[in-house]
């Protein structure tokens, strides 16, 4: 199980063919216009104004609507009208598949129910993020999916403590770190003890015992766990309109000292106790 999009779920269920899914994605792309194109189609802006907003976006990181307001091209009310039009006209992948004849309406209903059930374990629970941090919902997802993956992938029940802003992460044994960049930027870091590393290794390698495994393999299982969590976070975030790329993960050992913030980063830590009392820690090094 993993966080996924409906199209991928349908492929996995062998409900649609790859070529039909591609056709449906293409139909979506021609139907679901971006904000600027929708405003143009609604006659709210001219082509010249459209290009002016685009040019300004190269110099300042603002969404099209926000930039158009800043330049006096659109009012807040007009931006809302465009957003409503986009929402009302949005063609979802399931509907697109029905339109091209690749899926019947009855099948769509059936698979939507099955998809909802498949994804239910990944619905975000409420986690409190300290005020003042940008994109708080994003960090909530990071923490929530980490706890869920620790349980579902590694079989580790956890008891998270309240999150806090810190200036460093003191590793107990090993930290798996994954850099990410995009709408949000920073580093995801999961600090584990030797016992937790063993639990993760057994789960990832699907072995009862990992006694004969090398340090390289054991450490790699922690990185793979971090990779799985971050990939699922990226998928969940994308569903909410937040996009970022992840870079390959790397290890940081306790012997190398604490992991500290670089310029422009703040550290949000989530101390976690595994059921047997083993202390591990999630730290999000947040840029901006």
């Amino acid at each position: 199980m993993a966080v996924k999009f409906f199209g991928q779920f349908l492929l996995e269920q062998r409900a649609v063919k790859q070529e039909d899914l591609l056709k449906a994605i293409e139909l979506q792309e021609t139907t679901n216009l971006k904000f600027g194109a929708t405003a143009l189609a609604m006659g709210l802006i001219s082509l010249t104004a459209f290009e002016r907003v685009h040019d300004a976006q190269r110099l300042e990181d603002l969404k099209f609507g926000d930039m158009a307001i800043k330049l006096g091209i659109l009012t807040e009310e007009q931006v809302t009208q465009v957003l409503i039009r986009q929402k009302n006209n949005h063609l979802y992948i399931g509907e697109a598949l029905v339109r091209i004849g690749a899926l019947s309406s009855e099948s769509l209903k059936h698979y939507l129910e099955a998809f909802k059930e498949d994804q239910a374990p990944y619905v975000v629970d409420r986690i409190v993020i300290p005020s003042g941090l940008p994109h708080p919902q994003m960090w909530e997802i990071c923490a929530d999916l980490t706890f869920k993956m620790l349980l579902r992938v590694a079989g580790l029940s956890t008891r998270p403590s309240a999150s806090q802003i810190s200036d460093r992460l003191d590793p107990v044994f090993l930290v798996g770190v994954m850099p990410f960049k995009g709408t949000v930027q920073g580093r995801y870091a999961l600090g584990v003890t030797e016992a937790t590393r063993l639990a993760i290794a057994k789960a990832i390698l699907k072995e009862e015992s990992v006694d004969g495994e090398s340090e390289e393999v054991l450490n790699d299982t922690v990185l793979e766990f971090v990779n799985i969590v971050c990939g699922n976070i990226a998928a969940k975030a994308a569903q909410m309109g937040v996009s970022f790329e992840i870079d390959p993960p790397y290890t940081h050992f306790a012997s190398a000292g604490p992991l500290v913030a670089v310029a422009g980063e703040r550290i949000l830590t989530f101390p976690i106790h595994v059921a047997d009392g083993d202390p591990i820690c999630l730290a999000l090094f947040i840029h901006g």
Binding site: G7, R14, I25, E216, T221, E224, G231, A235
Partner: protein, 119 residues
């Protein structure tokens, strides 16, 4: 028995996949490439029937390697293996470039085998 080339920088993932493939008795591992560049070389030397390739790898990522592999052999059967499979644009790009499908991590053994059997 179909030969599968595994492309992943993680030894742990390669081990997982090897185990899943071996359990079926239908597939054998042709080799293990640790990045996209190695995969391109090993495709020629091992001549696999299927390629299971990670998206997020150092040196050369999976989508770049996929583009090259499909240019070399438009009939290549490549399945992208990733925890990022659910990200819409990456998923669509992989299919556009010629990937047969995308398998999500963590793996579901039967799901992986059924997908590979279909190819």
């Amino acid at each position: 028995m179909k030969k599968v080339l595994i492309v992943d920088d993680s030894i742990a993932v390669a081990r997982q996949l090897e185990k899943i493939l071996a359990s079926s008795g239908e597939f054998e591992v042709a080799g293990h490439a640790k990045n996209g560049a190695e995969a391109i070389k090993m495709k020629q030397t091992t001549k696999p029937d299927l390629i299971c390739m990670d998206m997020n790898m150092p040196v050369m990522d999976g989508l770049t390697a996929l583009r090259t592999l499909m240019a070399m052999d438009p009939n290549a059967k490549v399945v992208m293996v990733t925890s990022l499979g659910g990200v819409g644009d990456k998923f669509a790009e992989a299919l556009r470039l010629g990937a047969k499908t995308v398998i999500s991590k963590p793996f579901d053994t039967e799901g992986v085998l059924n997908t590979l059997r279909d190819l």
